[in-house]
Amino acid sequence: MIDDDFPVMTSTGAGRTSRRRFALALVPLLVGACVLLAGSAAGAVSVAFAGEVPVTVHAARVSASGVSASPAASGRGGLLPALATRVEQATVEDACVTSTARLPVVGAVTAVVRIERASATGLTVEAGKATARSVKLSGAKFSTPRVSLREPTGLFTVGAQKVSGNTVTTQPHAFTAGTITSRGVSIDVRRDAGGCEPGAAR
């Protein structure tokens, strides 16, 4: 019925897979993938991520520019109150990211990612909790949309041109980033519900 499937009329309708051609096609692909992954691990290639995973982030030093934050709700159905923070450019040093997943058969599995230095652009984080030992702001601003004199008509927005903090711990509900470049990454997966302690990034 579908005759246009085979414009070459010499074919009999059946076909086979050439192992030699398969290897010739697959090997360059895998080599290219290895180069990209190695470049990503070395910080030469930026990798884009978007996700909504339960993670805890500890960072010895955080610096960001173009920061604005306002209350929001995150999670499916918007049930979780969160602070939505938009950052134009951010850099973290000596960071440790932990995420625990409870799998049906295996049980609790914790992934611990230690990062020597990472930078991100176009970062949006919806965080439910954030603590820091010290924070330094420059060019801070605060605004509340108000069209009547009696009460505000919208959510407040706080922001700063530059923000830096030490010993920061946060639990982001969701994040998006245009690009993330990292250096000195080590990943450890273990079968328990532990995490990394503050200051133990290295």
Partner: protein, 129 residues
């Protein structure tokens, strides 16, 4: 009556599978769906968040289209295979590390299978022993 039809249908399905790069199209489609599922599970339904979220959906859709193309028109297998091979590398950096590497592996193997498939040529003389 139905038992007489079933072997014919099965035979027809087998002929249909043999007459095109079936495994290549299947892997390309599965890889594309995996890219979308990783973005879907991580972000919530239809939340196009950031470049990686949008890229996952766009690349996933392109992989599914490439898979369907290899099934519907095997003569275009080189085009869809090369396109899928390039896009599988793009997915590594643009779509959550190629759907946490699984989507990349599926689409890379699928594109290689599409490029390696050879239609069986008809013999020069139609008379066979």
């Amino acid at each position: 009556m139905s038992t007489a039809i079933r072997p014919g249908r099965r035979c027809g399905l087998q002929e249909w599978r043999r007459s095109r790069p079936f495994a290549a199209g299947l892997l390309l489609g599965l890889g594309g769906l995996e890219l979308i599922c990783v973005s879907w599970v991580g972000l919530g339904f239809l939340r196009f968040t950031g470049t990686a979220g949008a890229a996952s959906w766009a690349l996933g859709a392109l992989f599914v289209v490439a898979g369907v193309t290899t099934w519907r028109n095997p003569a275009l297998r080189y085009f869809s295979g090369v396109l899928a091979a390039v896009l599988s590398l793009v997915s590594l950096v643009a779509a959550n590390l190629g759907g946490l590497l699984l989507g990349f592996l599926l689409t890379a193997v699928g594109s290689a299978l599409a490029l390696a498939w050879i239609p069986q040529q008809a013999p020069a003389t139609p008379q066979e022993a």
